[in-house]
Symmetry: D2
Amino acid sequence: MCGIFGISGHPEAAALTHLGLYSLQHRGQESAGIVAVKDGDVKAIRAMGLVSDQFSAERMRTLAGPVALGHTRYSTAGSSTIENAQPALVHFKGGHIALAHNGNLTNALDIRGQLEDDGSIFSSSADSEVIVHRLAKAKAEKPEEKLAEALVGIEGAYSLLVVIGDTLVAARDPLGWRPLVLGRLNGAYVFASETCALDIVGATVEREVKPGEIIAIGPDGSLRSLERGAATKLHRCVFEYVYFARPDSSVFGGSVDRARRALGRRLAQEHPAPGADLVFAVPDSSNSAALGFSEISGLPLELALIRNHYVGRTFIQPTQSGRDAKVKVKYNPVREILDGKKVVMVDDSIVRGTTTKGLVALIRAAGAKEVHMRVSSPPITGPCWYGIDTPDRDQLIAAKHSVEDIARLIGVDSLGYLSLDGMLGAVPGGPEGFCHACFSGQYPTQPPSVGPVRLKRA
Amino acid sequence: MCGIFGISGHPEAAALTHLGLYSLQHRGQESAGIVAVKDGDVKAIRAMGLVSDQFSAERMRTLAGPVALGHTRYSTAGSSTIENAQPALVHFKGGHIALAHNGNLTNALDIRGQLEDDGSIFSSSADSEVIVHRLAKAKAEKPEEKLAEALVGIEGAYSLLVVIGDTLVAARDPLGWRPLVLGRLNGAYVFASETCALDIVGATVEREVKPGEIIAIGPDGSLRSLERGAATKLHRCVFEYVYFARPDSSVFGGSVDRARRALGRRLAQEHPAPGADLVFAVPDSSNSAALGFSEISGLPLELALIRNHYVGRTFIQPTQSGRDAKVKVKYNPVREILDGKKVVMVDDSIVRGTTTKGLVALIRAAGAKEVHMRVSSPPITGPCWYGIDTPDRDQLIAAKHSVEDIARLIGVDSLGYLSLDGMLGAVPGGPEGFCHACFSGQYPTQPPSVGPVRLKRA
Amino acid sequence: MCGIFGISGHPEAAALTHLGLYSLQHRGQESAGIVAVKDGDVKAIRAMGLVSDQFSAERMRTLAGPVALGHTRYSTAGSSTIENAQPALVHFKGGHIALAHNGNLTNALDIRGQLEDDGSIFSSSADSEVIVHRLAKAKAEKPEEKLAEALVGIEGAYSLLVVIGDTLVAARDPLGWRPLVLGRLNGAYVFASETCALDIVGATVEREVKPGEIIAIGPDGSLRSLERGAATKLHRCVFEYVYFARPDSSVFGGSVDRARRALGRRLAQEHPAPGADLVFAVPDSSNSAALGFSEISGLPLELALIRNHYVGRTFIQPTQSGRDAKVKVKYNPVREILDGKKVVMVDDSIVRGTTTKGLVALIRAAGAKEVHMRVSSPPITGPCWYGIDTPDRDQLIAAKHSVEDIARLIGVDSLGYLSLDGMLGAVPGGPEGFCHACFSGQYPTQPPSVGPVRLKRA
Amino acid sequence: MCGIFGISGHPEAAALTHLGLYSLQHRGQESAGIVAVKDGDVKAIRAMGLVSDQFSAERMRTLAGPVALGHTRYSTAGSSTIENAQPALVHFKGGHIALAHNGNLTNALDIRGQLEDDGSIFSSSADSEVIVHRLAKAKAEKPEEKLAEALVGIEGAYSLLVVIGDTLVAARDPLGWRPLVLGRLNGAYVFASETCALDIVGATVEREVKPGEIIAIGPDGSLRSLERGAATKLHRCVFEYVYFARPDSSVFGGSVDRARRALGRRLAQEHPAPGADLVFAVPDSSNSAALGFSEISGLPLELALIRNHYVGRTFIQPTQSGRDAKVKVKYNPVREILDGKKVVMVDDSIVRGTTTKGLVALIRAAGAKEVHMRVSSPPITGPCWYGIDTPDRDQLIAAKHSVEDIARLIGVDSLGYLSLDGMLGAVPGGPEGFCHACFSGQYPTQPPSVGPVRLKRA
């Protein structure tokens, strides 16, 4: 779960990258970084925390040149360290390599083992470091061919932005798991995880980087495409539509807002709530789905749950007594809407179930007579191996419980999940060509190679 | 524009105040502070910035005792200093006084002049400091009577929380400008600007503090009310309903969400948009009004504008070229919804017009064929003298321009403001008893006494 | 224990004050502050910590104008808060008052009580705040007369720098406890606690501010002196010569280095160490005295103890086991010098005895055969009431123990303290006119009025 | 110019390393770091700045286990980045490697080129990174043999501490440039650059690590020594005695204080100052030499120059006008000592001459009639290639000017440098076996391989 942004051919490359990262902050709030290249001279800044807090005007001023790339990284337990912040930046025989990666390589540890056997050293626990090593060892001449060579045998999900010398290279894995889009801003080329980042810099959307494709932007403004061939069956992450991407973005060529609206409509068809008085969303990610539900069901949409956006990522329970403050500090129900009503609560997904349970309790305490939960995706029964930070199987409520049990555990009067077919039929470009492994258990690869976490930084 | 919270009779008074301030953060993000009293010993922490960033567990641990009060303060240019952060805390003959103030005193400088003539010294530029001086000089014995004595002759808007010794005292000005509500949490009494802060600590709403009322909570848990008599005609701030309060709160006894929904409905009646394809809100404060507009107009509600909540208060334009990045970094339109459509954009108010103009440009760039703006309050033609941080008259677009001119300036195809009568008829408890001076020019007091800003801290 | 600096008539007044505070840092490391005045507009910065850490170029740029004053404050337990940092800055009828104080008022709480009876409020626990209140109430017209009026009835030690409007006023108490010197820098007048602060800004020493004198420097560069009359018998703090002032300074008109050299010579006469092999100082404050001892005794001076200047004020014992790390991290003996030797260790004073005991243990562990301690001042038997931060009587080793007992407790073979007469005979301008209360118990005033510490800030 | 510390076999290894770094802070103030190993699990903290400021108790708590090593690094222009902070920590086939290095490898870039040819990547610009790569590729089994293998062909100065797995390995280059000492603390083994770091943790000095020797301390407490053979002619850095090491340390088996005393005595013999009134040191590094000069010359030692230890490393000139504030803020002369006197100023060395020139001006301004400068080492005519941060040749005053010219340029009446033979004859273990290249131009190796600085971090 990361966001990447790159630009070549613009005199304010680093500043625009900075701006682009603002729009990709939802894809990762743990750390962020920017690398810029000027006349073969490369500089980087990386920091823990949000883009808005860490990248002062003074630090930004150190980044000059027409080529830049940036990265926002999600917080995953245990490896939240500055060493794992990206873009990676190293020096090798041919100069420098900077790399930003969104996705997860399933055979990274195997490749790492091979590299270690050859005497390579690793300074982070990030899977991306193996690509950097491979790039440095690649025999090919051209940057895009170097990258193609480096990626041979690497499995899993990756959308990549790489700077080798003065060339910006973009790549997507052949199964197309993670999105990556190409845009233009006057003479410059821009790449970003989502189109909302093109919007903020004023770039126009050209097209998706194709699954399997590698695109190189030379210092002379030339674009060279190298197609390694997409898989016969794509595995684009359906969860990007369900929850992860921003609603104002297009990913995989389809509008996220339209996708969610369609999911909500389909949800209302599959699981209507006859007799209910109103419908509301768990804000903000489920707003579009709730609108779709309202549209089909005819139930009025209400803003029954208010989200407090001032709660930082580091909320610490201030009191001993209040067990449920974590949910309460983030969400507050509107009693005047809920009191005495039979209500439908729409959410995009249920992961552990703890937040949902807290929300239902709040809704009931605000006077709701009946709470009917509707979820605009199927039960999550397995972890994601391809870059979404879902917890282990044993923490997923739907991995161990039936829908009836879940309804009881979270305390709702009824619970309806959208079906797998319903979801795949609703998203743009469906029903084929999507990864739904976390819902269906149909993983298209071996599980990620794992090993002891061997490198830690306090 | 501030938020206040106080509690008496709870062993975790400071921690609950901390929690309450999270819910009042929208009323002020410049600085925050908490004072706690234990056995006559009083301690305070105050800091610039957000509650979530500044009040570490370690700092909070220093605040013990059953009585606490807190404050969040809005940033106004020129006086954004730690000296002006509240609660104020001083020592006087009878012990200590801590004070948190929401509102604006219109004759503060006159009173300050009188006090200075008597040799008083001032260490901040806050108007609240005159109340502290008056309290220290009051002859009355009981805390609530001290406060009544101190407030004689003081004009303007105030909702106050004061700790004198072990007694927590709450007061509201006789015209009732700013809200203040009383709640109960087991045996403890809780006061807050809005009910959402009672919700977060699990307190139940008892009632409003009445205009003119002073309530003292003694260390023994006793409640003493002293009614100074409300004005015959109240001047509750209607802007609390229109924009300022949180939609999940009740203020002045009415639901903010219900008020905004009614404003949106009335707006649709006064200014329909026949021929339009859809309606959308400028998120988040206008969501309820847009829903109301949709309900009456029959136009489908869309989420056509996405707000980026990761943009901090300190956004600095990263590029030289991008003039409009400030609006773009905060809002992004959804092209798939807007392209080729005739759209209605609902906002709660237009102040300077610059943000609106930027938004309209974004909406048009996303392909909207027609943009019809609807505003759920009347044109703002004058500054607020009573605690809302509106700019000077010459910066208010509606103070100098007709509605037609404004429509042209911001670039919309049509523009409709809710009428004054429409607004007052829609809000709970209306149409009488509200201050609408910024819309109507009917100021119920003399203008605030002003003088040179004489005390600065770098 | 504080340092003060002020300047009038220089375009870079604040920058020079900043520089001056570097030289007065030894008089107080808890907090520092600077106030500058330009055309009646006054600005202040204050911060906890060292001058070198806190006053960035950016913050300094906010301080303009030809008049400035600064303060460094010592850390005393319990009141180490930003509220107590100086200079104080308040607004009153006549404009603004900024005040920096070195010393301690013995009847501050009495005066404070009188002021509180009149309704005054206090925002710090500093004794200096009473002078600010008195100044604001003074009837006199001229700044120097205001200060004279404000100081009537105030007892104890004070060297003061005050800015009222554009006038810089300096004052010293009639008994002359704390030093204060007047210098010139081109057309400007400069005041400082010690001459080393004049040196750093390139000012020449004019003369001491006389005991009881008040000097005002007008915005026109005029100097007006108002002599309130010194006491018939001065009480200049002899400890400034013994330990507190910097050796490159002159205080009370005499060289500190020369004073300490003379104390060391006298010590060698009173308490020779026949049979010893060498003499060394506890660096750095005792270096001069040890040189004097060496000169008279004929014992070679050695640098047997090395001080680590990188140890900050916040050293936290890193290990559980090492009990004595606090002394060891600051001082290390040189084995090659000490091994097998009979040594004389010269220190300027012994307060609690704990550090001395640790040092003696280190010296012995380094192989010293005999340790003879010589102290260049008499036993400290009482606290200072006049501004030196000595601990309470019950923590002073010499308040409870005979010299023989102390020798045994700290583990030395012999111990010699300089006699009271010896000390007073050795310092410049002695033997009359010095306060030696902490040595002799002859306090020239009543004890400081005390009361509960009533105002705290976490 | 760095300090290194390592310990194996103590339950508080990291805490003792922390303490040890306090004593090695003079060897490097730019950055510091500590690595600790527990049961094969390795953790590191690294930070810019001083040990006392950066390593909080909270951060230290993350470092557990019986093996730890630490590093303090000197600030050199252009590479003052966290990436270059040590200890380095990487993962390789066999587990982890942590490395702390004092010295400078003269053929690092050649080795780096070879490694890059094999596809290795580099993440810092530090020369030490080549050793880490070599270690990861070493075929040998035992840690000490791995290190021996890794060091084959590496030229230049190094004292190294390495942790491979649970084994702590120490090594010194065969010419013995940098010091490294072995100590014992109960059952644990301790290594440090200087003995003062053993003193602070309470360890006893065992012996020097021999030039060329590699010592491994196994997790079972075993010590294995591997002697690669010292060079026939050692090149221990004489500047460690002259200036760099702490006077309370022993390096190369000799007392630094005794060495400096001897240098001062010899200086007085070579360059007496007949007719002078007194001698004084430039504190603190020249104190011992000045004592030696006083001893032989019979001139009384005075403390004529006071150093301000509160001046941080980041002093920024506060005023526009004062050109010489940088020297003045650090040193202040004592007029009472200097006025009218013919004085001898002893310093350990003159590098650029700018500070000396400023000092002489201060001394003269304080009234000195004649200033005779004596330097306890020869003129520095070339840069150090082996780890001391001397500037380039063209900035060394003695590289371009005769002694007579230098005397004139710095403004002294006479100037005497200790001769090369005098210096080598005075230091312990001399005159053979020392590197004096910066004085004599006799460099025992080729110049360091250089190249463009290719990796930067803002």
